[in-house]
């Protein structure tokens, strides 16, 4: 596996003083869907914009080992705002893209438009949001790129089209491509991602393979009373969330599971991505 995107100590502070990204490191490996998961305002879009060179930043970013400008012809991008040229029809858009990009596959574009049920001779200006999104995605997927970057791509799509899109993105991985995918929708990420980086308040607070979360983590529900009684040091856990009279602890330490499993009041559960994400984000302030 080669490294497709390398981000080292990325920092982004906007002119209004907002520190959107606070020194993150990110490594996107070849032929994987790497998901940036995080709530709104976590810094996902700023990270993507930095990678694409849309905004100035501090730190070092390499794509395919080079400066982004040297490899733009190998990249396809779907932004958060999926606005295309409204005065064009999809047919004319395909013609335009064919002229603009050498790696644009017009046959594939027509196929995708048919797949998404998009009329090819109507002006884009008359399309609904979902249709505009489908069109933008079709044009981006029809580009034979090596790296696809999607920023919240399913916004505005109905559940069926959303599912279809996720299938199409997975197909790109089978074809040997790489995908960087940002979203705040957990089931979507759970379905598509191979590798997940969870962002919150400008930091990456977890990075790892999706399957590792189920295999390596457990949630421990410890009643507050018991916690005080046996003197659990919550600082030693991956994340801590205090609920009504219960402390929820996220742990990847087998020894901790074993030592606490003897207490009948302590419940130890397998964790899915949603619980993992919620505990991590909601417990963030307690941990960091």
């Amino acid at each position: 596996m080669g490294e497709v995107i390398s981000v080292k100590n990325l920092r982004k502070t906007y002119s209004n003083g907002v520190e959107a990204v606070k020194g993150i490191n990110l490594s996107v490996q070849n032929q994987l869907v790497h998901a940036l998961l995080g709530p709104n305002g976590a810094g996902k879009t700023s990270t993507m914009k930095s990678i694409l060179g849309f905004i100035k930043f501090e730190g070092d970013i390499k794509v395919f080992g080079k400066n982004i400008d040297e490899v733009r012809n190998r990249i396809s991008f779907v932004p958060e705002e999926k606005n295309f040229y409204t005065h064009l029809t999809p047919q004319k858009s395909i013609k335009m893209c064919k002229r603009l990009f050498k790696n644009f596959n017009d046959e594939e574009a027509f196929k995708l438009l048919k797949y998404f049920d998009i009329p090819i001779n109507k002006k884009i200006g008359s399309f609904s949001n979902g249709m505009k999104t489908s069109l933008y995605i079709s044009l981006s997927l029809a580009q034979e790129a090596d790296l696809y970057i999607f920023d919240e791509p399913t916004t505005g799509l109905d559940p069926i089209k959303r599912s279809d899109l996720l299938e199409l993105i997975r197909q790109k991985i089978i074809d040997g491509k790489t995908v960087l995918y940002s979203s705040h929708i957990i089931p979507e990420v759970e379905k598509i991602a191979d590798y997940i980086s969870i962002m919150y308040k400008g930091r990456i607070i977890y990075s790892g393979f999706r399957d590792d979360i189920k295999e390596k983590f457990k949630l421990l529900y410890v009643p507050t009373e018991i916690s005080h009684k046996i003197g659990i040091d919550t600082k030693n856990f991956f994340a801590k969330l205090i609920e009504d009279e219960v402390i929820v602890l996220l742990s990847n330490d087998h020894k901790q599971w074993e030592s606490l499993s003897n207490h009948e009041d302590i419940e130890i559960k397998d964790v899915d991505l949603e619980e993992f994400f919620n505990t991590l984000i909601r417990g963030y302030n307690d941990v960091f």
């Binding site: 694409l52 849309f54 733009r72 990249i75 932004p79 606005n83 040229y85 603009l100 990009f101 580009q143």
Partner: protein
């Protein structure tokens, strides 16, 4: 990408071109009547109210309108085409970047193409269309009058062409800067209109009147003095500086 840009400008250019062609047709069609009209005015000049005298200028100028060459330069280049050129530059320039910024379609281009490429294709396509229109309309005045048998010579066409082309390049580069920095299409239009209205006002203050490039674009002194080379060089240099600024601002802009 050149064709994409051309397609974006196409509609605006055709509409403006048609309007200016109508204006040219009217200017030339009025030629046979102006002589009689102005002869009458000269004979009754002293009887005219003061404000009318101010508008018309001196009777000598009216007399010169008998000359076809003077008519072409003063009425077509000076009163019609020249007056429209800065507005034409604004209409071509303002949406080039601002529309893409406003609609966020700029991401589609910038993700896949280098900024340098995007800038130069957009800039050169806009300027190319503008110069073709300016050159075409400027020359057409001469050609049509010649075809209709008026006594016009090529001698003054080139100075007018140079003045108009340097002038539109200046205005285009200036208005493009507004287009680049703006996130919507309204601000560059307002800024452009302020400039278009503000520059002629500079003529009212003698010490800064040279900052108003209108007299230069309107070919006011072409018949008597030929082309104003120092002004041409200065305006071309300022335009060049503006083009470099346009590029640097676009290159460093955040999207």
């Amino acid at each position: 990408m050149f064709f994409k840009e051309l397609n974006d400008i196409k509609m605006r250019s055709i509409v403006i071109l048609l309007l200016l062609l109508v204006s040219l047709a009217v200017t030339i069609a009025l030629r046979p009547y102006t002589e009689t009209m102005f002869s009458q005015m000269i004979s009754e000049f002293e009887k005219l109210p003061k404000f009318m005298k101010k508008i018309i200028g001196s009777p000598e100028q009216l007399t010169r309108l008998k000359d076809d060459e003077y008519y072409l330069i003063s009425q077509w280049h000076g009163k019609n085409l020249g007056q429209f050129l800065p507005l034409l530059s604004l209409l071509i320039a303002f949406p080039i970047f601002a529309k893409e910024n406003e609609k966020k379609t700029i991401y589609f281009l910038l993700a896949r193409k280098k900024r340098k490429f995007v800038f130069w294709v957009k800039f050169l396509t806009g300027l190319f269309v503008l110069l073709i229109m300016t050159g075409g309309l400027s020359t057409m005045g001469f050609v049509l009058m010649k075809i209709l048998g008026y006594s016009v010579s090529l001698v003054h066409l080139l100075p007018c062409l140079i003045s108009e082309m340097v002038g539109v390049t200046f205005f285009f580069s200036l208005f493009l800067l507004f287009s680049i920095i703006s996130n919507d299409q309204v601000k560059p239009v307002i800024a452009g209109i302020v400039i278009l209205i503000g520059l002629p006002l500079l003529s009212l203050i003698k010490s800064v009147s040279f900052l108003n490039p209108y007299p230069y674009i309107l070919c006011v002194n072409v018949l008597d003095k030929g082309i104003d080379w120092p002004y041409t060089i200065v305006l071309a240099s300022v335009s060049l500086l503006l083009i470099v600024s346009d590029y640097l601002v676009f290159k460093n802009r955040e999207f």
